[in-house]
């Protein structure tokens, strides 16, 4: 699609806004509508748009396959790790108040932001993997 100047330019202009919006939705989940799932999907959509316009091979150069594989696992690990951390700090599993014991309410907000970022990481990575696996030929 090298000739599609309008398409390429529009995609290039849209991408940063989509990414910032995706991150905003992830990290603003405890205050406004949205959260890790929705933000992760929006973030992945930015990269899918890039792949649609520039080809799936170009996507590999900015987001390698291994990176999404690792990030998908790391996202779940962040969520579960937060739970383990709060247990080690003396509370129950996923008892976010333990993150900042002097100010339990702020700890709740922190905990939610942390786990939502983990969810966003997993969702964005898996969505990109889904798209990549569908868009490329099977290995055989």
């Amino acid at each position: 699609m090298n000739d599609a100047v309008v398409l390429r330019t529009t995609a290039k202009l849209l991408m940063p806004f989509m990414m910032v919006f995706g991150l905003y939705v992830i990290f603003h989940g405890e205050a406004g509508p949205g959260g890790g799932f929705q933000g992760g999907v929006i973030l992945a959509a930015a990269f899918i748009l890039y792949a649609l316009v520039n080809g799936i091979d170009k996507l590999e150069t900015i987001v390698p396959e291994r990176l999404t594989d690792v990030l998908a696992a790391v996202g779940v690990l962040i969520f579960a790790g937060t739970g383990v951390y709060t247990m080690l700090a003396g509370g129950a599993f996923l008892d976010y108040a333990q993150i900042t014991p002097s100010n339990p309410e702020a700890g709740q907000a922190w905990g939610m932001t942390i786990v939502e970022s983990g969810v966003g990481m997993t969702v964005a990575s898996v969505m990109l993997t889904l798209f990549r696996e569908f868009a490329t030929e099977p290995a055989e």
Binding site: V25, E30, G35, Q38, V41, I42, G75, Q108, V123, P138
Partner: protein, 191 residues
């Protein structure tokens, strides 16, 4: 005014839903299902369910359409021509639809404060999360979005395993598609 918007939106929802089932071109059907999701997002918004509307717009209208179109690349662009009406399917659909419509009058009115869902656990959640204008409760003013408070804190286990399910789905797809691993790192050829 709201009721007019609802009627217009839901009429369009039914129309696009019908179009999805009737269209022969799968590409058009995928586009129609995207429009269907966008209309549903507007319906949720009209019910002030912002988080649901957001998810519907991002997942239903966005990602699902991209994946459907990617699937059409493999399956072909047109549906097989169909012959006649599948009678058992029609009977099941009409019976189930009739049953649901029969149940609707028993449901509490939309937004009824005395409805069971507003009387049972919801007051406790709202009390522990932020109260309108007041700062007591477990989370004071730090977590104004009650939906996220319920999803990420009160039902944190649930959300954690949802994330795990998505992760598993991604891994399962990679295994099913038999992506070759990089030179000798794990295996050659099929995983």
């Amino acid at each position: 005014m709201m009721i007019v918007v609802d009627i217009v939106l839901l009429t369009l929802v039914v129309a696009t839903g019908y179009a999805v089932t009737r269209l022969q071109s799968l590409f058009s059907a995928a586009m129609m299902s995207s429009i269907y999701s966008l209309l549903m997002a507007a319906v949720w918004y009209n019910m002030h369910a912002m988080d649901v509307a957001f998810t519907e717009a991002a997942v239903g209208a966005g990602i699902t359409t991209a994946l459907l179109i990617a699937t059409i690349v493999y399956t072909g662009r047109d549906e097989k021509p169909r012959t006649g009406v599948h009678l058992p399917a029609l009977v099941v659909c009409v019976a189930l639809g009739g049953l649901l419509v029969y149940g609707v009058p028993d449901m509490p009115a939309f937004g009824d404060p005395n409805a069971p869902i507003h009387a049972h656990v919801a007051p406790e959640y709202i009390d522990q999360s932020v109260r309108s204008g007041k700062t007591h409760g477990d989370m004071k003013r730090y977590v104004p979005n009650k939906v996220t408070a319920v999803l990420a804190s009160y039902r944190g286990y649930d959300t954690m395993f949802e994330a795990a399910v998505i992760f598993t789905a991604g891994i399962a797809l990679i295994l099913l598609r038999g992506r070759p691993r990089q030179r000798g790192r794990f295996y050659r050829g099929r995983v």
